[in-house]
């Protein structure tokens, strides 16, 4: 099952992922069209800056997700096959319980409509819009094993360079 992973050393904080996310979740699906929509389309990924580190924060689609557990209307649900946590707009009553329990603070609010807003991993797209938009490949859409292998190879390359420089 593919997930959105973040290579923390790669994020430059350009917020291309935020823009692409909002565009993907607009009706017009283009930046120009999205700009004139009301209510404005909301992003589901948040680039934060903490202690000098730029970090894209996005739903981790946790197993036995607490946002699903606390949802009293059944709006928040987890697809048993893909593991994607999503919410049914028609059932959401805007009680914000999900937002309160999310450990990563990645559940947003469409305030006028009292709707919880979160990453749906771009249903219908092969690669999520945020990943596709990332110019430095800080965001990676892959299986967990693939991602770890990528980090491992990066690390191995680093070590090799240091080793060769010293040898």
């Amino acid at each position: 099952m593919k997930e959105v992973f973040v290579r923390l050393d790669r994020c430059l904080g350009c917020k291309s992922c935020e823009n692409a996310c909002a565009v993907e979740h607009s009706s017009g699906k283009s930046l120009i069209a999205a700009l004139s929509e009301k209510p404005a389309s909301l992003r589901r990924v948040y680039v934060e800056m903490v202690e000098g580190q730029k970090m894209p924060m996005i739903c981790r689609h946790c197993k036995d997700a607490s946002c699903v557990a606390v949802c009293r209307t059944g709006a928040m649900w987890q697809d048993p096959t893909s593991g994607v946590v999503d919410r049914h707009a028609d059932k959401c009553v805007g009680c914000w319980m999900c937002a309160m329990v999310c450990p990563n603070g990645v559940i947003g609010q469409q305030k006028d409509a009292r709707l919880a807003v979160k990453c749906d991993r771009c249903s219908g797209r092969e690669v999520p819009a945020c990943v596709e938009a990332c110019p430095t490949h800080a965001l990676i859409f892959s299986e967990e094993e693939e991602f770890s292998e990528l980090l491992r190879k990066d690390a191995a390359a680093r070590i090799t360079r240091i080793y060769r420089a010293r040898a």
Binding site: R10, G13, K54
Partner: protein, 615 residues
Amino acid sequence: MAKDVRDRSIDPASREMLDVCQRAGLETAWDRYEKQQPQCGFGELGLCCRNCNMGPCRIDPFGEGAIKGVCGATADIIVARNFLRSIAAGAAAHSDHARDVAHTFRAVARGEAPSYGIKDQAKLERLMKEYGVDTEIALADAVMAEFGMQDGPLQFTRRAPARRLALWKKLGIEPRGIDREIVECMHRTHMGVDNDYVSLILQGLRTSLADGWGGSMIATELQDVLFGTPAPTFSEANLGVLELNQVNVIVHGHEPLLSEMIVAAAADPQLLELAKKQGAAGINVAGICCTGNEVLMRHGVPAAGNFLQQELAVATGAVDAMVVDVQCIMPALGALAGCFHTKFISTSPKARFPGAVHIEFKEQTARETASAIVQTAVLNYKNRNPAKVHIPNEKSKAMVGFSVEAIVGALGGNLDPLIGAIKSGAVRGIGAVVGCNNPKIVHDYGHINMVKELIKKDVLVLTTGCNAQACAKAGLLLPEAADLAGEGLKGVCKALGIPPVLHMGSCVDISRILVAAAALANALGVDISDLPAAGAAPEWMSEKAVSIGAYVVGSGVFTVLGTVPPVLGSSAVAGLLTGGAKDVVGACFAVEPDPFKAALLMIDHIDRQRKKLGL
């Protein structure tokens, strides 16, 4: 969540007002800076290009994504082009300011600007001699011609030491005309023109020299002619200069053309009478940014603060009019002034702001415009809401007005005493500390700590701009501040009765520092790059500062920047600016946000220069 104001400024008055702003829910640049976090890394590295519509393009600094723009431009090309455009904008700002002053001077020469006169006849005559002309009109025409000149040389570049001039010529960076260099920057950075980073940076140096030894120097010299060459005088600085019982008029921006008239209008008996009728005890003019420095230097008009204090001044609720001209005026002022009775008055046809009342300044009717503006402020006094007024007590005395002429005067008529002190080691060297404020650095922290560190180690500090105001507020511009200096510098200051930090004026007045450097180099028979001197801009933010940094380095002075310029996306460009340039123009940049470490870099450089000179 309330932010700790101690993380935002070291200045007590600013901290007090930041507290007031937080309680009142008033937004400042610091809040907006936080909302901008994280800032785009491509922009920080200088790696995005918007120069043509095949783009915007950006280069992946990690090399995995795009390493070339659509046109094929590499990181080196994009970074160098962006840097060149910054220099062009900065040089344009200073030089367009100079152009306005030159226009006013010509109008005076033609008898078309009755509000103005000639205040420094001796300087006027020296300039006429320098330009080889006999009349004021001919001088005005000759100065105006420098802007549109095609083949150079700019007259004031002749003030540089012969070796420097020869070097510029050899490198092909002797400016040919002020406007020409700026236009050429825009041409070269257009899609598909100059794509060699070295060639782009050299054009940047040439353009910046047209600013430092051209536009800025013209502005300084003609302002001296029209308004008087500054001489030492005392004044006060910080928000505490605002008066509870007087009409407060703040002049903010960069050009003294109007503010000179405002200062005069504020002393007009009729307007003073009107102020009394409104219940005010008088009319108090105070300055912010370099318009403030101009009237501080020439008239001892108190300084309300530096760049990051413009919003805090309005937030005192005691400003009856905030009068602005050009440059470094935050568009946020309109909305903020709207929370108070403050009239935010724009005056330049070039600079309009949301929420401002526009009272346009024209040189032919300058005095009348100034009177109308002061009258607006006076009539607004009664609208002040006492419940919203909060003026910090904090203010410091300062000795200001150190033009080159004034420094030479303080030294007894020539530079020999200073040269003697440098040779003996009493004065270790000269540090030129200038530049803006930037919320990336705790307000005034960079300025004050660097300057204190330098004087402690016997480095005489020359200052302008927002650094000068920071020093004024911290009491470093007083002769008594010599007690904070090392034994050598302290002795020299006490003997001459001068502060260890000399306020030389506004940011265009960095040209005064160039003149001083050239005079010192000539007196020692060396090039400027041989002097035991270093420059710094600990809290810089504007494109003008980029141009200044480039002309200071291009003139041969090692310069330390306190915030990182957007060039790190190209190791070639960054390497050239921070190393390679030394072999080309005899000086380079360094970047060091920590003011203590930055001061050490400057002192180390000064010591190396002393050794090379055999001192």
